[in-house]
Amino acid sequence: MGPDEDLNAQLRSWKVNAEVPPTFPANVWRAIAVRERAGEGPVSLARLLEILIGRLGQPRYAVPFGILALTVSLGLARVQADAANAKTWRTLETRYVTSVDPVAMAETNR
């Protein structure tokens, strides 16, 4: 009897006798349900802010946030300044036309 035949004999005689406990499937489903509930639950706004503010203490979050805040504020200022200047320009145009147009002047004085 060579080594291969020994191994084959061993393999033939090997039987797995594993028994699954009767509560195993129920436990698995319960664990899945618990994890799903934990994942689906909405994170409260206060908790989210707490997490974000906590991260701002670290330079790798603080620096990009600072750049973003400054960029947004300057961009907003530019857009609003352009609108304000355009409005002022239209007002001055109307004033000029009213100063040379008697009809417009009479309507303004009405």
Binding site: G66, R78, N85
Partner: protein
């Protein structure tokens, strides 16, 4: 958490200061112009790229025209008041009201002609391209005023 809150407050303050500074600087010249007397003439100078010499000549034209313009404005107001008075007395189109409406339309037309003559004189003092743009702007305004007038007096003969 406390450090993050400080960082947030400081960044928001810097962003607000940046907004205020940029907005203030970007609108300063327009706001300054708006608060000046005779600011419409300064607007004309900047909008139509007038040289100092052109600006002086146009200011002269404007000064000469201003009393006539005020006089014409007074005539329009008189004619307008006459129409309003007649309509208050009699809510019907009487021959007197028709005559008053014709007079108002005639006064308006004469005023518009005088204004366009002034606008042509001003445009001739400007650089050619700016002069054309100026005349187009004035014509647009006159047309808009004329349409308003037509809407007010649709049956008035011109």
């Amino acid at each position: 958490m406390k450090r993050g809150l400080w960082v947030l407050v400081v960044f928001l303050a810097v962003a607000a200061a940046g907004y205020g500074a940029y907005y203030g600087c970007a609108t300063a010249s327009a706001r300054a112009m708006l608060s000046q007397p005779e600011n419409q003439m300064e607007w004309l100078r900047q909008e139509f790229h007038l040289s100092d010499a052109q600006f002086v000549r146009i200011q002269g034209l404007h000064r000469d025209y201003a009393p006539r313009c005020a006089l014409m404005c007074g005539r329009i107001q008189e004619a307008d008041a006459q129409v309003n008075g007649l309509m208050a007395v009699n809510a019907a189109v009487t021959p007197e009201l028709g005559a008053a409406l014709n007079k108002l339309a005639a006064v308006r037309e004469a005023c518009t002609e005088a204004m366009l003559a002034h606008a042509c004189a001003v445009a001739q003092e400007m650089p050619p391209a700016d002069g054309v743009r100026y005349l187009n702007m004035m014509k647009g305004r006159v047309l808009a005023a004329s349409l308003r007038s037509e809407a007010l007096f649709p049956e008035t003969d011109h």
